[in-house]
Symmetry: C2
Subunit: 410 residues, 2 copies
C-alpha cells in the first residue's frame, strides 16, 4: 500500500491559482450578458447624459428668477414655450421667463433649474406664479453628471449585473467582449456507480455526483460537460481523462482520490502528457483526499466520492479556480459571506479547516446558524442546509452564540 | 390636471400577491433543473441507500469481534473474503471473521461495522490484527439512513439547487415537474427614448430600462420578452399593452407612471378588458409613482422611468410577484438578507420606506454599508452599489454604526 499523502494547507492551494490562465474571449449581444465576465475595459465616448435634463415635471427657469419667492410673495414668470420630449428646445429663456418641461426633458438655453409643478400655479396661458425659490441645478441632471466622456464604464474581469448591462445600453454598446464560459469536464468513477436511468442491484448506487457537480459548475459560471461513469480501471480512466482534457478547460473526477485499492486517479493523471500532481490532500474536513493536478495548462481536480465532501471541496476551492479561468478579477468578487450566531457548541480539530453544514434560522431578532451533523455520504444533509460555516485552522471549537461567517448556498 | 394619487403602504401591496395565480407546469430533464421551481412533491420509492455501505476502506466485521482490542492486545480475525464494489457479497461473516471492503462497498451479512485499514495489519493472506475496537454502526451508512422509503424528497414550490438535483438523481428521477418560467413583457415609454443602436440627437437618450429590467427578470427566474419603445401616445400604448398581455404572464411598463401631461399608462391600462388599477403610488422612496394593475388574472406594473427608481421598485416589490407566479413557495424562500453597519448618518422621512444604495466594505473586522447618494436617474450609482439598505417606515434616520439589513445585488 502507498504512503498516506501529505496534506497541504488551503492557503497554499490557492497560491497555485495563477498557474491556470483564463479562457479565450468572445463578443456577445447585450441580451445575453447576465453573469458573464467582461474581458476588456469599456470607455465612455460621450457624456451621459449629453444634455441637461429635468428630473421633474414643472418649469425650467433661471434660478435667480425665483429667489425670494414664497406663498405670500410669489414670483411671476412668463411662459416662453413648452419643451417637447426628445427634442432640443428651439427657444431660450431669460430672467423672468420659464418653459414648461416634463421629467427627462432637455433644459432650454438660459435655464439652470426646474420648479416643480406642485410649487406653481398657472395664472393664464403665458403666466405662472412660483411659490418656492430653487437653487441653480435643482431638479436637473447636468450633462456628464452620470458619466463623463473618457471614464471607464466597465472594467475587465467584472461580472455583469443588470446595471452594468444598462450602462452599456446607455452608451449604445450593442455587443460586449466577455470571457467564454469555461467548459468543465465531469467524470464519475466507481464500479458501484450506475447511470441514474438504471435500476440499482444490491451493492450499486446511482450516479449523484455528475448531477450535483454539473449544477455547481453552472452556478460558478461554467458549462458542465459530462463524461459519464468510469469503472475502477486504469486504462479506462486514462482514456476518459485524455478525452475530457481534449474537450474541456478543467476536469473534475469524483471518487477514487483516496489511498486505497481503487486509487487509479493519481496513476492515470500522472501518465497524461505534460502532467504533474500539485496537491494530494488538503487540510480541510471533509475533503482531505482532494487532488489538484496540472495537465498542460489545465487544472484537474480529484474530488472525494462522498457527495457532501465533493460539494464542500467545490465550494471551498474548486469554484474560485473556475472563476479564475473564467476571467473574474479577484478585486471584483462580491462580498457574499455574512454573519450568524452558531446555535450550539461545535468541536473541531486544530490544524485543519472544518466545514459545517448549517441551516439558517431567524429567532429573537438574531440570525442563527444551526449545525446539521451527519456523515459526508448523506445528501439529505445538504438538502436541509442553507450554507456552510468555516471553522478556522487554529480553532478548537465554537461555543454557542459565537459569531460565525456563513457561506450561503444560493 | 388630475388629482395626485393616494399612496399605499408596501405591506398592503403585498396582500395583492395572492390575486395572481402561478403559471403552468412542464416536465424537464435533470440537466436543466438549476434554479427552476418544483411543481410537485416527489416521494422516495426506495431506501437510500438500499443496503448498508462502508464509508471507509478497511474490514467489515461484527463489532463484538473487536471489543477490547488495543495496540498491546490486538484482536485476530480471519479474512473470509473481499467485497467486490457494486456487488452483493456472496458470503457472510461470523464472530471472529472479517471481509476486506472499500469505501462504498456493501456490508456482507453478519457485519455491522467497519475497521479502518489504518487500525489493522495483515499477518498473512487470511489473518489480520485489529488494534482498535469499533462500535456497531461505525463507518457504515445504514440502509435508509440518508432517506427512508416514503419520505418527501422534494416538496412543491422549492427552488432546485445542485443538491436537490443530486437527490432526484439518487432516486433515478430523470425528469422533474417544474413551473414554467413566467414570461415577463417589458415596454419602455417616452418620446425622448431611442433604441440603443441609434445615435441620440440632443434631447434624446438611449433605452436603458429595457436592458436593466430584462436582466432583473432573468435573475428572478423569468423570461424577459421585450416590446421596444412606445411613444407617449394613448393609442400606441394601448395596442402595445394588448399585444404584451397576449404574449406574457406579467407586463412591466417603465416611464409614464407619474401624474403628468404624458400620463397615458393609467388610461391605457384602465381601457384594457377586465382591468382594474389596484395600486397607484407606494409609500417607498424612490419609486412612489408605481402602478399595479390587474388585467384578467395577470399583473401589470407601471414603473418609474428613472432607472434607479425602476430597479429599486423591482427589488422591493416586483421580484416577489414574479417569484409568486413562478411557483416559489414563500416558506422555501432562502434567507439572503444580511447585516452590516451603516457608515454614516442617514436621514429619512417617516411614513415611507427609504431604499439607500450602498457599497459593502470590510474594515476593522466589521462589514460596513457605505451609502451612495445620487439622483435616481444616475445609473452609475447602481453600478457602484453592492446592494440596498431599507430604512423602515417609522424610522426618522440612522446614526453611523447602526446595524442595518442589506439586500445584496448578486
Amino acid at each position: 500500500m502507498k504512503d498516506f499523502f501529505k496534506v497541504a494547507h488551503l492557503k497554499e492551494v490557492f497560491k497555485y491559482i495563477s498557474c491556470f490562465p483564463p479562457v479565450e474571449t468572445e463578443e456577445i449581444g447585450l441580451h445575453e450578458t447576465l453573469e458573464r465576465i467582461s474581458a476588456a475595459d469599456v470607455i465612455a465616448d460621450i457624456d451621459l447624459p449629453d444634455f441637461a435634463r429635468s428630473t421633474m415635471d414643472g418649469y425650467a427657469v433661471s434660478a435667480s428668477s425665483t429667489f425670494g419667492a414664497t406663498e405670500g410673495n410669489p414670483a411671476y414668470l412668463t411662459v416662453k414655450g413648452s419643451v417637447a420630449m426628445g427634442e432640443s428646445p428651439d427657444f431660450s429663456i431669460r430672467s423672468g421667463e420659464a418653459a414648461m418641461i416634463s421629467t427627462g426633458g432637455m433644459l432650454p438655453v438660459g435655464a439652470d433649474s426646474v420648479v416643480m409643478v406642485e410649487h406653481s400655479d398657472a395664472i393664464d396661458d403665458t403666466t405662472i406664479e412660483v411659490y418656492r425659490s430653487v437653487a441653480p441645478g435643482r431638479h436637473v441632471v447636468e450633462a456628464g453628471e452620470d458619466i463623463k466622456k473618457g471614464e471607464v464604464i466597465l472594467s475587465c474581469g467584472r461580472k455583469l449585473r443588470p446595471q452594468e448591462t444598462g450602462l452599456l445600453a446607455a452608451f449604445g454598446k450593442t455587443a460586449v467582449k466577455v470571457y467564454k464560459k469555461p467548459v468543465i469536464g465531469i467524470i464519475s468513477t466507481g464500479n458501484e456507480v450506475i447511470p441514474i436511468e438504471d435500476r440499482p442491484c444490491q451493492g450499486q448506487i446511482r450516479d449523484i455526483n455528475t448531477y450535483t457537480l454539473s449544477g455547481l459548475v453552472q452556478k460558478s459560471g461554467g458549462i458542465p460537460l459530462t463524461f459519464g461513469i468510469v469503472r475502477d480501471d486504469y486504462d479506462a480512466l486514462f482514456e476518459k481523462c485524455r478525452l475530457a482534457f481534449d474537450k474541456s478547460d478543467m476536469v473534475l473526477i469524483s471518487g477514487g482520490s483516496s489511498v486505497g485499492v481503487r486509487d487509479f486517479t493519481i496513476d492515470a493523471l500522472s501518465s497524461l502528457p505534460d502532467s504533474s500532481i500539485i496537491v494530494h490532500g488538503i487540510s480541510i474536513s471533509p475533503g482531505k483526499p482532494t487532488i489538484l493536478a496540472k495537465v498542460g495548462n489545465k487544472a484537474c481536480w480529484g474530488l472525494p466520492g462522498h457527495v457532501v465532501s465533493a460539494m464542500i471541496v467545490f465550494a471551498a476551492v474548486v469554484q474560485p479556480f473556475i472563476e479564475r479561468i473564467g476571467g473574474l478579477a479577484s478585486q471584483h468578487k462580491v462580498i457574499s459571506r455574512f454573519s450568524a450566531l452558531i446555535s450550539r457548541n461545535i468541536s473541531s480539530t486544530q490544524g485543519r479547516i472544518d466545514y459545517i453544514r448549517i441551516r439558517l434560522i431567524e429567532k429573537d431578532g438574531f440570525l442563527w446558524a444551526e449545525p446539521i451533523l451527519g456523515k459526508s455520504g448523506l445528501i439529505n444533509t445538504m438538502v436541509k442546509a442553507d450554507g456552510l460555516v468555516e471553522i478556522g485552522i487554529n480553532t478548537e471549537g465554537l461555543e454557542r452564540g459565537t459569531e460565525v461567517e456563513v457561506i450561503p448556498f444560493f
